[in-house]
């Protein structure tokens, strides 16, 4: 095994991977399909939905990024918005270029506890990235869960992520429903208009025996959680993944400290009940 690997994770020394393909998602957001140069890494890397990796862009730096692929038979990829120095450098790369990867890190979603439950995914914009892995997993194991809802809100129809997946998810899988909304009237858009929480009524989501996964910008997050709780969902049945400034990924630099927890090792998945007790802004 590789020198820097502990418990199946690439800890301090990044492993090299090649960009195989790049796909434009939405404005400023691209998906990068990656392949580890060492076959042993490719064969041994196990990911859990909800985990993240640290990605090095050689010559530019390192950043944290969620893992959207399902833990089973999915191509290894990341989806990244260009926001700053390192992510811009990634966006400038071409297929055949190399990146470095450490991880996967973090706790992941607790699927074992979710057997037989209905699941409601609520995403705002690129908040769909960290939820995708879990949605794909649930789709592949539909028999283990109750009804599944995916609600996605974005500014305009052009801002809906993962278009091919959305088509598939809207395509009538029994017990699996997908609803989309846009913030403002857009010519040609015949769907729902309004912030994503308006979809909660439209979808008529169940409350009994239900868990919700919420991910998006802070304003959206707070509104959606308020609405879910108003409908009777309890705080321990609402999950989210927290995003924090990260440097090490292994619980040592302490940048990702929220309350007494470290997002990189204790998170990034938290229940809303936990988030409330962390005593910090989200």
């Amino acid at each position: 095994m590789s020198e820097g690997m502990i418990n199946g994770k690439i800890v301090t020394i990044p492993e090299v991977a090649t960009i195989e393909e790049i796909k434009d998602e939405i404005r400023e957001v691209k998906t990068f399909y990656l392949n580890f140069d060492k076959k042993e890494i490719k064969d041994n890397l196990k990911i859990k939905s909800g985990q993240f990796i640290m990605c090095t862009i050689f010559g530019a730096g390192e950043f944290a990024v969620s893992l959207p692929p399902s833990p089973e038979n999915d191509r290894f990829h990341i989806t990244v918005r260009s926001v700053g120095k390192v992510t811009r450098a990634l966006h400038a790369l071409k297929p055949g270029d190399k990146v470095g990867i450490r991880g996967p890190f973090g706790n992941g979603f607790p699927f074992a506890e979710l057997k037989g439950k209905n699941i409601v995914y609520v995403a705002g914009g690129i908040g769909l990235i960290p939820l995708r892995s879990s949605i794909m997993h649930v789709l592949q194991h539909k028999e283990d869960f109750g009804d599944v809802y995916v609600l996605l809100g974005a500014r305009t129809p052009d801002d809906h992520m993962y278009k091919e997946n959305l088509k598939e998810w809207q395509g009538g899988v029994p017990g699996f429903k997908c609803f989309l909304s846009v913030d403002v009237e857009t010519p040609g858009w015949k769907g729902e208009v309004g912030f994503v929480h308006t979809l909660l009524d439209k979808a008529n989501i169940p409350i009994e025996n239900t868990v919700a996964f919420v991910c998006g910008p802070p304003v959206m997050f707070n509104t959606v959680i308020g609405e879910l709780m108003k409908r009777g969902l309890s705080d321990e049945n609402i999950y989210s993944t927290l995003e924090r400034h990260m440097k090490c990924g292994i619980g040592k630099c302490q940048h990702c400290m929220v309350g007494r927890t470290l997002v990189c090792t204790d998170g990034p998945v938290y229940t809303f009940r936990q988030i409330k007790t962390l005593g910090e802004q989200i």
Binding site: E3, G4, I6, N7, K9, V11, T12, I13, P14, V16, T18, T56, F58, G59, A60, G61, E62, F63, V83, G84, T87, G96, D97, K98, G100, P218, E243, R244, H245, K247, C248, I250, G251, K252, C253, Q254, H255, M257, V258, G259, R260, T265, G279, E280, Q281, I282
Partner: protein, 355 residues
């Protein structure tokens, strides 16, 4: 247990210098300040020097160091990643008990939990530690409140105690014992141990009045903070007093936060060094995320972090010991007067108010 003549005590350092990179306390001539750092020879070491302004933290956790380098050839699409973890074993000679305990805090933090910090481990690996019992307190010492001094209890290879004409040399490890035997040190008798414990009893009576708060208060305050009952107003006050200079965290023997940056080598195309350097939870940019969102922007949201960290979160809850070892340095350096002893006083006052 062994004995060595006072005039010969640096011979131990000399012996260590043959095998290890030697570190010890010395007084810089120009500034008159004590430093604890690398020395060229054992003769530079001054065991009687006042407490060094900075702890010996940089011997295991340098202020800035390279942890990795890589070379990327974008034309050939090849990359070579080189970890940079080799270090010469070090000997720390004449460490105070508070600073040893700071090191032990760092050990628990960097070597414990799910992952081991390999960079830290390589500095710490093979290290030889000689502690020196303190007998006279300085103005801000509060080690007696934090159970970390003035005499070391564990974690040393050799411990020295000044008994007048001689030093009592106690071995805390096989490595220490072997060195003492190799040097042919004279065996000590029970009477010498008794002399040491008398020294300890006397030292404690000197230290206790100096410590800003006595043991009972500190443990009550830690309890308050840990259970979340310290009032918001205390943290707001602490936040208002803070200049965000970061000094308290840099002089603290147990502060461990770091930042990581990739820096390109201008002399070598495609060569980059990954550096890590000390960081401080006092800085505004500490928690700022891409896009500018800062979950900890208001100063009191950030500044109380240090005191939660020291008195509750990191060490107390996980490792059953406060993150503060009572060296008092944060109290010396803080321009806002919110070193640990004062913050303890603020929380204590609040308790008193609540009755």
């Amino acid at each position: 247990m062994f004995l060595i003549k006072k005039s010969d005590v640096l011979k131990i350092a000399e012996e260590l210098g043959k095998e290890y990179q030697l570190y010890g306390p010395f007084v810089e001539k120009t500034s008159g300040q004590t430093f604890f750092d690398k020395v060229g020879s054992a003769s530079e070491i001054n065991l009687g020097a006042p407490i060094p302004s900075a702890p010996p933290k940089q011997s295991v956790f340098p202020q800035m160091e390279r942890i990795l380098s890589y070379k990327y050839d974008s034309a050939k699409k090849s990359v070579e990643v080189k970890p940079d973890f080799t270090v010469t074993p070090k000997a720390l000679f004449g460490l105070r008990s508070c600073d040893l305990n700071g090191l032990l805090c760092l050990d628990r933090f960097f070597l414990g939990q799910e992952f081991v910090d390999e960079v830290y481990r390589n500095h710490r690996r093979g290290m030889f530690i000689v502690t020196n019992s303190c007998t006279t307190p300085f103005k801000q010492c509060l080690c007696v409140c934090m159970d970390s001094g003035p005499f070391a209890k564990e974690g040393y290879d050799l411990n020295l105690t000044d008994l007048g004409d001689e030093y009592l040399v106690e071995a805390g490890s096989d490595k220490g014992k072997m060195l003492a035997e190799k040097m042919g040190l004279k065996a000590a008798a029970d009477a010498h141990m008794k002399q040491k414990s008398e020294k300890l009893d006397k030292a404690i009576t000197l230290f206790e009045p100096v410590a800003v708060d006595n043991k009972a208060w500190i443990s009550r305050v830690i309890n308050r903070v840990t259970t979340g009952f310290a009032k918001e107003e205390v943290w707001e006050y602490v936040g208002d007093q803070c200049f965000e200079c970061g000094a308290c965290t840099f002089v603290c023997p147990s502060c461990s936060c770091f930042n990581v940056v990739d820096v390109n080598d201008t002399a070598c195309a495609g060569c980059t060094d990954r550096l890590r350097s000390w960081d401080s939870c006092a800085y505004e940019g500490y928690a700022r995320m891409a896009g500018g969102h800062n979950p900890r922007k208001p100063v009191e949201d950030r500044r109380n972090k240090r005191f939660f960290c020291k008195l509750s979160y990191s060490q107390s809850k996980k490792y059953l010991r406060p993150g503060c070892v009572g060296c008092g340095r944060c109290q010396w350096v803080c321009p806002g007067d919110i070193g640990i002893p004062n913050v303890v006083t603020y929380v204590r006052r609040e308790i008193t108010k609540q009755g």
